[in-house]
């Protein structure tokens, strides 16, 4: 790996401030790791192989079947991957990307600009673009001056970090396989698909023509789907699997104390108490603001997530550029402050309790932390009921905005701050919960200011501070804590675990001691 970087790694433009050693996350012993069959327990059935539908249901395969244009280190520094260099125009309205030579898709087709163009095409298509579509909204057009170069033009000047996020999010799909990518993987990744047994798992094997040298280390990669945490833990303890990916914090904590290795990546989620500010008492700003102080964040973190994470009052993980620890102190759990704000709201007791809290019954942590909030509300004289729904019923209520208040996690909390707008409660337009026109124009303006802050560090910082202030004032979403997603619990026989910025599972560096 180090050799690769020395020979091919060229720093492009101003994008890379420092060339971080690529194998930074690899221990020194990595070279001595042995191959074999790596058995991984996952907790969700694979939904599809489409990297543009990236979600927890395919987190475990995407980085093993595909490579993205660039990668981030766990600290958020960009690194070359399929793109060897990238140059952002000084006016920040375009980026030019150089593609790596000598890479082939699993089918044998050489990797060239056509596949990147096809990938961009798919991402910009409202029907096929899926998760990438909203990120593509800044893109005007694109072109390929030659086989090894792609140029992407933007509609307006775009902050640097947002451009890098886009490149990191772009995962080239083989042009001719793009229509069947949901069911047939078409990538350049370190592993190729061998077989899949629906509901049980899938088997991959090492890609013999992989462009990163000496990777992957293991010859076979087997994923087994476990429907419950307890089952996966039992399998790890009985030696039936080597790694659990994306298990619960609680069992990870228990396994850690039993001597297993636990790795948590930087890509946390933030649990957010979402408030439908178009309904009932929640139309009252002062009433909403009381909820900033009604969250027993420490208790929620301990009971719901075994203490693995941080209490936060803003939707950012500590790695986020907008993270500001002072808010956590200023908006700590404080029933007296909450009572004062409730009194200031001028609402009657009957008005205050005229709602139900929606709860995801399929998620044990949600049930518990909802009860904690319910108890806090009870203490300030607002007795409310829980409306517990399972599976599909919950999801449709959550997405349709058919709730008064609900806990739901928010991702992308370590990236460019406006990326939180991909999440339904934080959307600035076509918000399915708050609807149009957006009831909190100051928030919409604050996001626009962040997006438009393409100037110096001071302007950027000011825009972040403004956003943070607006978020607690409008109080339509009350973050409580960050928590681990994509936790890796491994037996002591394995080593070489690489952490990924989004906590995707990267198997290519893992081997046996």
């Amino acid at each position: 790996m180090t050799t690769v970087s020395r020979r091919q790694f060229c720093i492009g433009g101003i994008a890379l401030a420092a060339a971080a050693p690529l194998a930074m996350s690899l221990p020194a012993a990595a070279q001595q790791l042995k191959g074999g069959t790596l058995r991984v327990a996952v907790l969700s059935e694979l939904a599809n192989y489409d990297p543009q539908q990236l979600s927890t249901v395919n987190f475990h395969v995407i980085k093993n079947l595909y490579d993205s244009l660039i990668e981030y280190t766990p600290e958020g520094k960009p690194e070359p991957s399929l793109a060897t260099e990238w140059t952002i125009a000084p006016d920040k309205t375009s980026v030019s990307v150089k593609l790596r030579d000598g890479v082939a898709f699993h089918s044998g087709t050489p990797f060239k600009a056509d596949s990147v163009l096809a990938t961009l095409q798919k991402g910009a298509d409202p029907k096929r673009g899926k998760n990438v579509f909203s990120t593509m909204s800044i893109v005007k057009d694109w072109s390929a001056p030659d086989d090894r170069t792609v140029v992407i033009n933007f509609k307006a000047p775009v902050p640097e970090r947002q451009i890098l996020d886009l490149l990191q999010f772009l995962i080239p799909i083989e042009a001719k396989g793009i229509d069947t990518v949901e069911t047939v993987p078409a990538g350049t990744g370190p592993f190729t698909l061998v077989s899949r047994a629906v509901g049980q798992g899938l088997r991959l094997k090492a890609n013999p023509n992989y462009w990163r040298e000496k990777q992957p280390i293991v010859q076979d990669l087997v994923f087994t789907v476990f429907s419950e945490d307890a089952a996966a833990s039992a399998a790890l303890e009985s030696g039936a699997v080597d790694i659990i990916y994306n298990g619960s914090s609680r069992s990870a904590a228990r396994l850690k104390s039993a001597g297993y290795q636990v790795f948590s990546g930087p890509g946390k989620l933030v649990q957010v108490f979402r408030i439908n500010s178009t309904r009932g008492p929640f139309r009252n700003k002062s009433y909403r603001q009381a909820f900033n102080h009604l969250m027993d964040r420490a208790g929620i973190l301990r009971v719901g997530y075994a203490g693995m994470g941080e209490v936060v009052a803003q939707p950012w993980a500590p790695a986020s550029p907008a993270f500001d620890a002072s808010y956590t102190k200023a908006y700590a759990y404080d029933l007296d402050k909450a009572k004062a704000l409730l009194a200031a709201s001028g609402l009657s007791a009957a008005e205050m309790k005229d709602w139900k809290m929606l709860v995801n019954g399929s998620d044990e942590a949600s049930v518990q932390i909802s009860q904690i909030v319910q108890a806090s509300l009870g203490k300030v004289g607002i007795p409310i009921e829980l409306d517990i729904r399972q599976g599909a019923e919950f999801v449709s209520a959550l997405l349709g905005g058919d709730f008064a208040a609900v806990f739901g996690a928010v991702g992308n909390v370590q990236k460019f701050p406006s990326r939180v707008t991909t999440n339904s409660i934080y959307r600035t337009s076509q918000n399915p919960i708050l609807k149009d026109p957006h009831p909190h124009p100051t928030y919409v303006a604050a996001i626009a200011k962040v997006d438009g802050a393409s100037g110096g560090a001071a302007e950027v910082k000011a825009s972040y501070d403004n956003l943070n202030k607006v978020l607690v004032e409008e109080a339509f979403a009350i973050p409580t804590n960050s928590y681990e997603v994509g936790l890796i619990v491994a037996s002591d026989k394995v080593a070489g675990v690489t952490l990924e910025i989004d906590n995707l599972f990267v198997a290519r560096t893992i081997g046996f001691k």
Binding site: D296, V303, G361, S362, V367, I372, A375, L386, Q390, E393
Partner: protein, 296 residues
Amino acid sequence: MAARRDAMSAMLGSTLQVLRRLSARRSTSLSFAFLLLVALAAVFADVLPLDPLTQNLADSLMPPSSSAWFGTDELGRDILARVVYGARTSLVTAFGAVVIAALIGVPIGLVAGFFGDWRDSVLMRCIDVLLALPNILFAMALIAVLGRSQAAALVAVGIAGIPNFARIARAQVMALRQLDFVTAVRSFGGGSSYIMFRTILPNALSPLVVQAIVLASIAILLEAALAFLGVGVPPPTPSWGEMLRTGKSYLHEAPTYAVLPGLVLTLTILSFDTIGRALTALLDRHDTGVPERRGR
């Protein structure tokens, strides 16, 4: 009215007699005592110095101690308090479910058995469907429709119990409808429903009451199973099955969390079952539900 009072006192008399016979065995008298305890707990839960809802997050998952005899749960609530209030959930659900099952099942069985024509075929075919479906799956599907609530659990468990009552009522009617006193009522002009409900039903009561007791144990079990699968009475309402569900995830940290509520649940089910079986045995020996043959 006076007659009704007489009937009541006669019934009370025979009930006492049955109770006396039942308590002759140690297993049944123990069962009685335990059920009495559970029922008292359910009724007087509010009077006891127990609080099932107040959380104390700092003291979560504590082992049994003098301040919390059964320990505390993951939110620091007193498990004993939740077990006591859970008795209320269980008994209310069981009682309501048995009432629903009886109100629907008994008329179905009476009509099917009394007329014995196409009505019998149609009704019994429906009962067959209910019998063939595992009641836990049926109840889950029904709760999915009704939304998760105590009422939904009660209705789902009740409907699952319909076949039990329908089959027993039907068998009783078929045995009783040809008897002379039924013919007598028919001959002086009693209509079908009068005969079914006023003449036959009172004579079929004993096996139906026994069935109700047996069904109560099934209903408590089913309610707990639904809660265990996460579709029962919604939290924070205390429910034994829900406690087992949550407790199961804390087996390593707090083994008593799942074990103690489960023990109370099991003893309750066993007590109902023991009494139900003792009554069945008594019924087989002393009272078959048809009039005595004395004098012949």
